[in-house]
C-alpha cells in the first residue's frame, strides 16, 4: 500500500553530491506538486567523511525535520557506507520501514545473507548497481553518480516524472544565472560558460534519465509495490 508521505535517507561520503541530490529531489517533487523538504546532516566538511542528506515527500504537509531515523527508502551512495560504517546509523538499513526500498551504489554485492533475511522479512526490495560506472559511461564523469542515483530513485517511485527532474536540475544549476545575469550579460564569455553549463545540465539529465529507465524496468520486474501516493 502506498503512503501519503515518505522519508528518504541518503548516506554518502563528502564530495559525492548527496546534498545536491537531496536538494534536486525535493525541488523535483515540489515541481510535481508534492510537499517536499530536504536537508543535509554532516560533521566536518571534508571529502570521504560521512555525509547524509534527506528528502521527505508527501501529498500532505511535512512537519518532520532532521535526520531520518525510520526511512522508507535508503540510497547508499558509496560502498564504504556499508563496509566501513561511514554513516550515522548502523547497520546501513537501521530503521527501514516495511515495504521499503534500498538502492546501493556498488560494483559488488554487499548485502550479507543475514541482512537479506532481515530485509526480506520487512518486504524491503534491494537493488545493487554500479551507478558510478553508469555515470562515467553516460556523463563521462563519476561526479554524476548522484544524478544516476537521483534518476534511479524516481524510476523506482514512478510518481515523479522526468520533466520534474529536469526542472529540479535546472533550478539547481541555472538559478544564479537567471537571478543575476540578464540579457545584457550574454556576451561571448558568458555564452561560452553558459554553453558549458548547458552541456553539464544535459549530461546530468541524460544520466538521470537512463537510470530512471533502468529502475523503472527493474521495479516492474521484481514487482515493487507503489511506495508514494500519486498526486491526486
Amino acid at each position: 500500500m502506498s503512503k501519503d508521505s515518505i522519508k528518504i535517507r541518503m548516506p554518502a561520503l563528502g564530495g559525492q553530491g548527496a546534498v545536491t541530490a537531496a536538494h534536486i529531489a525535493a525541488t523535483a517533487a515540489d515541481t510535481e506538486g508534492y510537499y517536499a523538504v530536504s536537508n543535509p546532516f554532516f560533521g566536518a566538511e571534508k571529502r570521504m567523511a560521512p555525509s547524509e542528506s534527506y528528502t521527505r515527500i508527501g501529498t500532505v504537509p511535512i512537519y518532520d525535520r532532521g535526520e531520518v531515523i525510520y526511512p522508507d527508502i535508503i540510497m547508499v551512495y558509496h560502498p564504504q557506507v556499508i563496509t566501513m560504517g561511514k554513516s550515522y546509523t548502523m547497520p546501513f538499513y537501521s530503521g527501514i520501514k516495511e515495504n521499503g526500498l534500498v538502492l546501493i551504489n556498488s560494483d559488488h554485492e554487499l548485502v550479507t545473507d543475514s541482512d537479506r533475511k532481515f530485509l526480506e522479512s520487512k518486504n524491503v526490495k534491494v537493488l545493487t548497481r554500479d551507478f558510478t560506472k553508469f555515470a562515467v559511461e553516460i556523463a563521462g564523469t563519476e561526479l554524476a553518480t548522484n544524478m544516476a542515483m537521483l534518476g534511479a530513485l524516481f524510476g523506482a517511485l514512478g510518481t515523479i516524472g522526468k520533466s520534474a527532474i529536469e526542472e529540479g536540475i535546472k533550478d539547481r544549476f541555472l538559478k544564479k544565472y537567471v537571478a543575476s545575469g540578464g540579457t545584457a550579460s550574454l556576451d561571448s564569455v558568458i555564452e561560452k560558460k553558459f554553453k558549458k553549463k548547458l552541456d553539464l545540465i544535459q549530461s546530468n539529465l541524460d544520466t538521470a534519465s537512463a537510470a530512471y529507465d533502468l529502475t523503472a524496468a527493474w521495479a516492474k520486474e521484481v514487482g515493487l509495490a507503489p511506495i508514494l501516493d500519486p498526486i491526486a
Binding site: A26, D30, A36, G43, D64, R65, G66, V68
Partner: protein, 397 residues
C-alpha cells in the same frame, strides 16, 4: 548596484518603502523553494538594513555570507567581519547606538563567547536583531542542532522569538525590527531558529516581491539619543553611576533593569499583531493531551498530533512563538483542557519545561512531562513522541 539618495518613496537601493503591515500581510506573494539561510537574505533585503557585522560559525555561516552579498548588491548600508563573536556583538552595539538598523547572526559557542554583550545591548536599549541559529555547546565539539544556548539568553533582557520553519523565519525577522524599534519597547530582539533544521532545510516559502522594503529606522524616536560626534553613548556609559559610589548607583541600576524587563513586556501587543498571536494552537480544542513546544519541536509535535488522530486519540499543539516575553495568558488559556502537557525539546536541560511549569504553577492541574528530550543533534522522530505519550497516558489512566 550603487547606493542612491533616499527619497520620500524610495530607499537607497531604489526599493519602494512600505509599512510592515503591507509587507507582511497585504503584498502579493509568490512561491519559492529555499533554505532558512537563503530566506534570511530575502528578509533582510526587504528591511532597509543599515549595518551588519558577521563572524563565521556553523550553521549560521551561510546566512552571514548571504547578508554580505546583500551589501555587495547595495541593499545593506555597511557590512564587515568582526574579530570574533565578542567583537561582533560589541560592534553591533556601536552601530545600533549610532542609530543604525543592525542585524547579526551567530550560533552555539559564538553566542557564549559574546555573552557579556547581550545584557549590555538590552541595558543600552538598542533595537538590534540577532538571528540565532541554535547549535550545541561544547564539549565534546558539535555543530549539530541543539538549543541549550537559548537557556543562557533567557534573562539577558532581550526579547526572544522562536521561528518554527523557513516561512516563519522570513516573517518573524521582518516583524522583529518593527517591534524592537517601537519607542516604548526599544530593546534588542533575538530571533531564534534551530540550526540545520531551519538554516539548511529547503522547503517552499511564500515571499512578497523584492522591490519593496521597510521604512528606515528612526533613531530620533529612541528612548536614548543616538550617538554622534557630539553626543556620547547613553549618559550612564560615559559617566557611570557606580563612580558616584552612593545610593544612586545601585538604585539606578535596579530601576533600569526593571525598566528593561517592562519594555520587553510592553512588546506584547505589537508582537500579538505582527505574529498573529504569541502562541499558535492546532489540533483538537478540547484535547487532554497537549504538546507545548517551540521551533522544530512544535513541528515534530504536529507530526505526532497527526499520527495520534489516525489512532483516534485527541491531542493539540501549542506553539510558543515568543519566549521573552513569555506568553503566560496564552499558555494558560490553551492548556485549560489539558490533563497531560508534554514539552518535547532539543536540549538536555529542558529549559522550556521549566518555563512552562513555572508559568502554570498553582494555575493548572495538568501533569507537565518534559519529554521526549533529545540533544547534541539527535532527531526527534514522531515514533519517540508517540511512545512517550502512549506510555504516560496508559499509566495515568
Amino acid at each position: 548596484m550603487s547606493i542612491k539618495n533616499m527619497t520620500k518613496e524610495k530607499n537607497w537601493s531604489g526599493q519602494t518603502m512600505v509599512s510592515t503591515d503591507y509587507l507582511l500581510f497585504e503584498a502579493p506573494r509568490e512561491k519559492h523553494f529555499m533554505t532558512g539561510s537563503e530566506v534570511l537574505k530575502e528578509a533582510m533585503k526587504r528591511c532597509t538594513v543599515d549595518a551588519s557585522v558577521s563572524y563565521p560559525i556553523t550553521p549560521q555561516s551561510e546566512a552571514a555570507h548571504l547578508i554580505g552579498e546583500l551589501w555587495a548588491e547595495g541593499y545593506v548600508g555597511t557590512y564587515f567581519r568582526g574579530e570574533n563573536e565578542f567583537g561582533v556583538m560589541s560592534e553591533v552595539a556601536g552601530c545600533a547606538m549610532a542609530g543604525a538598523r543592525t542585524v547579526t547572526t551567530t550560533s552555539g559557542p559564538g553566542t557564549l563567547r559574546a555573552m557579556e554583550n547581550f545584557p549590555m545591548w538590552s541595558g543600552t536599549r538598542i533595537p538590534c536583531q540577532l538571528v540565532l541559529m541554535a547549535r550545541g555547546i561544547n564539549s565534546p565539539l558539535t555543530i549539530q542542532p541543539d538549543n541549550l544556548e537559548v537557556s543562557f539568553l533567557l534573562e539577558t533582557g532581550c526579547m526572544i522569538w522562536y521561528a518554527e520553519n523557513v516561512q516563519e523565519l522570513f516573517d518573524m525577522s521582518i516583524a522583529a525590527f518593527t517591534v524592537a524599534e517601537m519607542p516604548d519597547v526599544h530593546v534588542p530582539i533575538i530571533t531564534a531558529v534551530d540550526g540545520f533544521f531551519v538554516s539548511h532545510t529547503r522547503e517552499s516559502v511564500m515571499l512578497p516581491a523584492d522591490d519593496i522594503a521597510l521604512f528606515p529606522y528612526n533613531p530620533y524616536k529612541a528612548p536614548l539619543p543616538p550617538i554622534d560626534s557630539e553626543m556620547p553613548p547613553g549618559r550612564f556609559l560615559r559617566d557611570p553611576f557606580v563612580m558616584k559610589s552612593n545610593y544612586i548607583s545601585y538604585a539606578t541600576h535596579a530601576s533600569w533593569q526593571w525598566e528593561v524587563r517592562s519594555a520587553v513586556d510592553r512588546s506584547r501587543p505589537y508582537a500579538k499583531h505582527f505574529l498573529n498571536g504569541l502562541a499558535h494552537v492546532t489540533g483538537d480544542q478540547d484535547a487532554e493531551i497537549v504538546f507545548v513546544a517551540c521551533g522544530t519541536a512544535s513541528h515534530q509535535a504536529k507530526e505526532a498530533n497527526r499520527e495520534l488522530t489516525k489512532m483516534g486519540i485527541k491531542s493539540k499543539v501549542v506553539k510558543l512563538r515568543t519566549i521573552r516575553p513569555f506568553p503566560h495568558a496564552e499558555l494558560l488559556e490553551a492548556t485549560k483542557s489539558a490533563k497531560y502537557i508534554f514539552v518535547p525539546e532539543f536540549n538536555i536541560v529542558g529549559w522550556l519545561e521549566k518555563e512552562v511549569t513555572q508559568s502554570l504553577y498553582g494555575k493548572s492541574e495538568a501533569k507537565v512531562i518534559g519529554r521526549p528530550r533529545v540533544a547534541g543533534g539527535m532527531s526527534m522522530p514522531v515514533e519517540a513522541i508517540l511512545k512517550e505519550v502512549l506510555e504516560n497516558v496508559e499509566k495515568g489512566a
